[in-house]
Structures are given as C-alpha cells and as structure tokens.
C-alpha cells in the first residue's frame, strides 16, 4: 500500500482498525502524523456530534404522540365503520322503498283497471258484435293495426287510462263479458293478477306498455293477453326497439297464425 492509497482509505474511516492501514502507519514516517491528526479531528467531530443531548422527555413525547395517533386511527376506523353502516342502511332502505314503490304502482294499476270497468259497467252489457272496421279504426288512432283476427268484439273505443289514452274492448267470454285494455306506456316487469269480488284477470307486459284482460269471476283468461298482444301490430314509435308483432311474443303469434291457418 502506498501513501496515497493509505490516506484515501483512512479518510473514508479514520477510526478503522484495518491491519493494512495500521501496518502502513507503523512503517511510514510521513503518514503516521497525518493519521494521528486525522484521528484526533475525527474523535473531536464525533464527540461534538454524538454528545448532543436530546431534550428531556423526547422519547416520552414521541410515544405520547403515537398514542394520540393510535386513538385518532381508532376514531377514524369507528367513523368509517359508522359511515359504512349508514350507507348500508340507506342502500337497503332505498331498495326497500323502490320495491315498495313498484309494488304500490302495480297495485294501483290493477285497482285503476277495476275502477275503470266499474265506472263504465254499461259497456259490459253490449251484446252485439261491432264491425271489424270499427275495431280497426280504434287501433288506427294509435297507429296500430290488427295483424290477425281477434274474434268477436262487442265494444271498441278509445279511452283515457291512468296515464294516457288506450284501447278499450269488450269481448264475449265463457262466464260473461271480458274487458280488454291496451294501455300504452303502462310498463310492468311481470304479469300481475287482477282479482276482486266480481272480477278475475291479469295484466300482461308488452314492449310498449301492457294489456289488461279482465273477466267475471271464474273466467279463464290465461294466455288471452299474450294472444291479443301478438295479434296487434303496435307502432314502432311506442315500442322499445321491437317491431312486430307487438308484445314480442313471437311464439304466441306463431301459434295464433297456425290456429288460423288450420
């Protein structure tokens, strides 16, 4: 090791006990005083830097601050939990309210159908078929048309339903007159039963609204709503992306066509 190397290495750590360094120092008259001077300065510097006494109670204050932080964390966690619980409760309530609202809407629609029939009970007494041209005329007022024969109709008119005008038909049934309402805009997710002391029926969903089919108690109306939906072409402007036949019940339409043909 030459002097340059010795001094370079010593300057990186003057208090190093490296044997090579000590050996060079012991044999080099020029480097020995350099090393001693450097060590003295190093010891003085370390003494100065290491003898800085921390303020009294520093560790205790740090620990206390950490405890406050810990409590704040717990409070935050509590608030997060509380907020999550509130959000969950609000969410459940909203879903419940929404469900209840839908249920109430459905009940209200069924009740309005009953009320409508009772308010216009005189139409139930119509005993003679109206011309098919009349039926077609009523549907044409909505841009709709009959795509298949729907059988005898004893009453056909445009009527104000709950929200907007629709088609009011009365057809003969096995137990008595059967009222049919074509209600554009009255959207329902599923078929709903209509029951009262006197009437029995159901509301069938379609792409453009719904169809109510209501007969006297004991009347079988199953499938009638679907068949009527398939027999009427409703205008595209009131449908939700489906052209013909209205109601999207292609199977029923096909069945109706097959029955008609054969």
């Amino acid at each position: 090791m030459n002097c340059l190397e010795f001094r370079r290495r010593l300057l990186t750590d003057p208090l190093s006990g490296d044997e090579d360094l000590l050996a060079h120092e012991a044999t080099c008259a020029a480097c020995a005083p350099f090393a001693q001077d450097l060590r003295a300065r190093e010891i003085r510097m370390r003494s100065l830097l290491q003898n800085v006494v921390p303020p009294p109670g520093l560790a205790e204050r740090v620990s206390l601050a950490a405890r406050f932080e810990q409590r704040a964390e717990r409070r935050r966690q509590w608030w997060y939990s509380a907020a999550a619980a509130v959000l969950l409760t609000v969410g459940v309530s909203m879903v419940s309210l929404f469900s209840t609202s839908i249920e109430r809407t459905n009940v209200a629609l069924a009740q309005s159908v009953i009320n409508h029939i009772e308010d216009e009970a005189s139409h139930l007494r119509a005993a003679h078929p109206v011309p098919t041209a009349r039926v077609n005329w009523v549907f044409k007022r909505f841009g709709a048309e009959l795509a298949a024969d729907i059988g005898p109709v004893h009453f056909a008119a445009e009527c104000l339903m709950r929200k907007r005008n629709g088609v009011h038909l009365v057809m003969p049934g096995k137990m008595g007159p059967v009222t049919v309402f074509f209600m554009p805009g009255e959207m329902t997710d599923t078929a709903m039963p209509i029951t009262s002391a006197r009437f029995n029926g159901q509301i069938v969903p379609t792409d453009w609204g719904s169809i109510a089919v209501v007969g006297e108690a004991g009347e079988t109306v199953d499938g009638l709503g679907e068949r009527l939906a398939a027999a009427v072409r409703w205008p595209a402007s009131t449908q939700a992306g489906v052209s013909v036949p209205v109601g999207g019940n292609l199977l029923a339409a096909s069945r109706l066509t097959q029955q008609k043909n054969g």
């Binding site: 300057l11 990186t12 510097m45 830097l49 290491q50 560790a59 620990s63 950490a66």
Partner: protein, 167 residues
C-alpha cells in the same frame, strides 16, 4: 396491538436520542430536530408492520428522517438549517465552544451529498453498504463521498484550498 405498542415504545426509547442527533446534524436547530424526530416516528407508527425487524427499522427511520428534512428544506424554512444561530438549549446538551461552532459551520458548508453519508457513518454507525442502501448509492460511491467529505472538512477547518494531490 399491545405487543406492537410495547415494541414501538422500546424502539422509540432506543433510537430517539440518536435520531435527534442526526436531525441536529442536518438542521442545527433543536426545535426543528425534535419536530423531525416526532414526525419520523409517527410515520413509522403508521407503517408499524414494517418496523418489526429492529435492524431494518433503524435504517428505515433514518431514511424517513432524511426525507422529512428534505421536505422541510423544500418548504424553505431558513431557521431549520442555519448553523450560525445558536440554539436556546442548555450548554450541557449542545457544545457552544468556538471550536464546536467552527466545526458545525464547516459541516453545514459541506455539500449535502458529502454530509449525508458522513452523518450516517458518524452518528448512525452504519457501514458503507448500509449507507448505500439508505442513500440508494453503490458502496464505491459511498466510499468516495466519505473520502471527499472528510477531505473537504479538513480543508475548511485548516483554511486550505482543496488540493486533491496533497490530501
């Protein structure tokens, strides 16, 4: 939780004094130094799961403190890094001799690149490899910077112009 709490308190009592010294070496202000130590341990507490390894924890806390000081310096608080202002603390805790004043001023004049490894070696007792880990440098660079730090310090204290050839 109580166990972690106890381990953390042990760590605080073991390392707070030397972290305070390191902070003093960086900022020369006892109030700022205490703030730095407090913030360092609080950050450590927030990430306490990483503090389980005592040896790694020490290096990690030094790194946090160094970063906190850098952030403080960026916010331009001149009182946090003026070594010529004598702190208002008892003599026994801070050497107020002329020699100490001169040495502190010389340390403050060192480039941060040279002063950082020197303080980590002298106060933290870290090896060159550990200093390299903390400062994200390779060991040879740390050795070079330690050499240059002492060389510059020696020149500053003796009033010599830096002359590499004479060492």
């Amino acid at each position: 939780m109580a166990n972690i709490r106890s381990e953390f308190d042990t760590l605080v009592h073991a390392l707070a004094p030397e972290l305070f010294r390191y902070a003093m070496g960086l900022c020369h202000n006892p109030h700022t130094a205490e703030d730095l130590v407090q913030e360092t341990f609080l950050r450590g507490w927030r990430s306490r799961t990483d503090l389980r390894d005592g040896k790694a924890a020490k290096a990690w806390l030094y790194t946090i403190l160094r970063n906190e000081h850098a952030r403080l310096y960026e916010r331009q608080r001149p009182e946090a890094c003026d070594p010529t202002v004598l702190p208002d603390i008892p003599d026994r805790g801070y050497d107020t001799s002329a020699e100490a004043f001169v040495l502190r001023r010389a340390l403050a004049k060192l480039q941060a690149d040279y002063r950082d490894p020197l303080l980590l070696q002298v106060i933290g007792g870290f090896s060159c490899r550990e200093i390299g880990d903390i400062l994200e440098l390779n060991t040879n660079t740390v050795l070079t910077r330690l050499f240059r730090a002492r060389k510059a310090l020696r020149d500053l204290l003796t009033g010599d112009l830096p002359q590499e050839a004479s060492l």
